[in-house]
């Protein structure tokens, strides 16, 4: 079933695959994000209770959900690296960590900016915000571990162990609004059943969400290429590439 993936265990094949992916997905990202954010800012209706500050929702919720998604992706990569010894999985985990940190940071800041007018406070130590902050520290810890080891293979394994230990945080974040009485509101968009949002708010949300997903793919591909290059810098194909592109 996975036979079609086997050629991509070769770093050179994957590098050239990203060469083809990045342009297409960049166009897709730009289109989706421009449509989504313009719709969110200009055309979506203001919320009945929250007014125009609801427009922050279109950034806050996608980035928050995707920050958890990035962590899960990183954990799966770590698992593949530790259990099946995929060398490229190390590289992809290393490339995902900074992106996850930025997305977690954005979700915390937009959440604070939304919370101040709505609930009167920039920050509160409830379960969801605290566990999201822990997620940020976990991402920073993984980045720090990757940079602390000289040998990239060791760094990947160490960071992988930390990622897998910290995976327990994800269900805590997800179910924190159900398990505890928090200031944070419950889920507005659920995948099963009807979302509790009207369609003219749902559409810009979907566009923004998909736009952010493809943005993550593009940035991950860019960073993934960096990792492949630095880990394979002795190979002849890398030398050729560097001489043709970098030796200016």
């Amino acid at each position: 079933m996975w036979k079609w993936l086997h050629p991509y265990a070769n770093p050179e094949a994957t590098y050239h695959l990203t060469d083809r992916i990045i342009p297409w997905f960049s166009y897709l990202t730009i289109i989706l994000l421009v449509i989504g954010l313009t719709w969110a800012l200009l055309f979506a209706p203001a919320d009945y209770q929250q007014g125009d500050s609801f427009r922050i929702f279109y950034i806050h919720v996608p980035t928050a959900t995707l920050s958890m998604g990035i962590y899960v992706g990183m954990a799966i990569a770590a698992l593949c690296s530790i259990v099946w010894q995929f060398k490229l999985a190390d590289a992809s985990a290393a490339s995902l960590a900074p992106i996850g940190a930025v997305f977690t940071f954005i979700s915390l800041v937009t959440g604070a900016a939304w919370g101040k007018p709505m609930w009167g406070t920039w920050w509160i130590w409830d379960a969801r915000l605290t566990s999201q902050l822990i997620l940020l520290f976990l991402f920073l810890g993984v980045m720090a571990l990757h940079n602390a080891f000289e040998d990239k293979a060791l760094a990947g394994k160490a960071a992988g162990i930390l990622t897998l230990v910290g995976i327990i945080n994800i269900p805590i974040i997800k179910y924190s609004v159900e398990w505890w009485n928090t200031l944070h509101q419950g889920a507005t968009v659920s995948k099963m059943g009807k979302p509790s949002m009207t369609m003219d708010m749902l559409w810009p949300f979907i566009f923004c969400y998909m736009g952010f997903i493809f943005l993550i793919v593009v940035i991950t591909c860019i960073r993934f290429r960096n990792e492949i290059l630095s880990r394979n810098s002795m190979r002849p194909w890398v030398k050729e590439l560097a001489l043709s592109k970098g030796g200016k």
Binding site: A44, A46, I219, L229, S230
Partner: protein
């Protein structure tokens, strides 16, 4: 359009500061991430190219040295050989 004028758009029903703070920081953070990642790509390629060129230069210098050494030894050997010939010739002449 939900807004009647640019001013209404900027003030966002009173929540302008918070909305624009969020959108602004988001744009800034994402732009920084993208630009830094791309810059690192260029930098990595440049470093690899530089390192390769340095190694090439070192190899060439080493090759030059060994060839100079080899030609020197050749010269010394040939001079020794020719002197030996000469001395034998002299001896035979004497």
């Amino acid at each position: 359009m939900q807004f009647d004028s640019i001013n209404a758009f900027l003030s966002m029903g009173g929540y302008g500061f918070y909305v624009w703070l969020s959108y602004g920081i988001t744009t800034l953070a994402l732009l920084l991430l993208i630009l830094l990642s791309k810059q690192k790509h260029k930098q990595t390629l440049q470093h690899i190219a530089q390192r390769y060129n340095r190694e090439l230069k070192r190899k060439e210098a080493a090759a030059l040295q060994t060839s100079a050494l080899a030609s020197n030894t050749e010269n010394t050997l040939s001079t020794v050989a020719s002197e030996k010939c000469k001395s034998e010739h002299d001896k035979s002449v004497k």
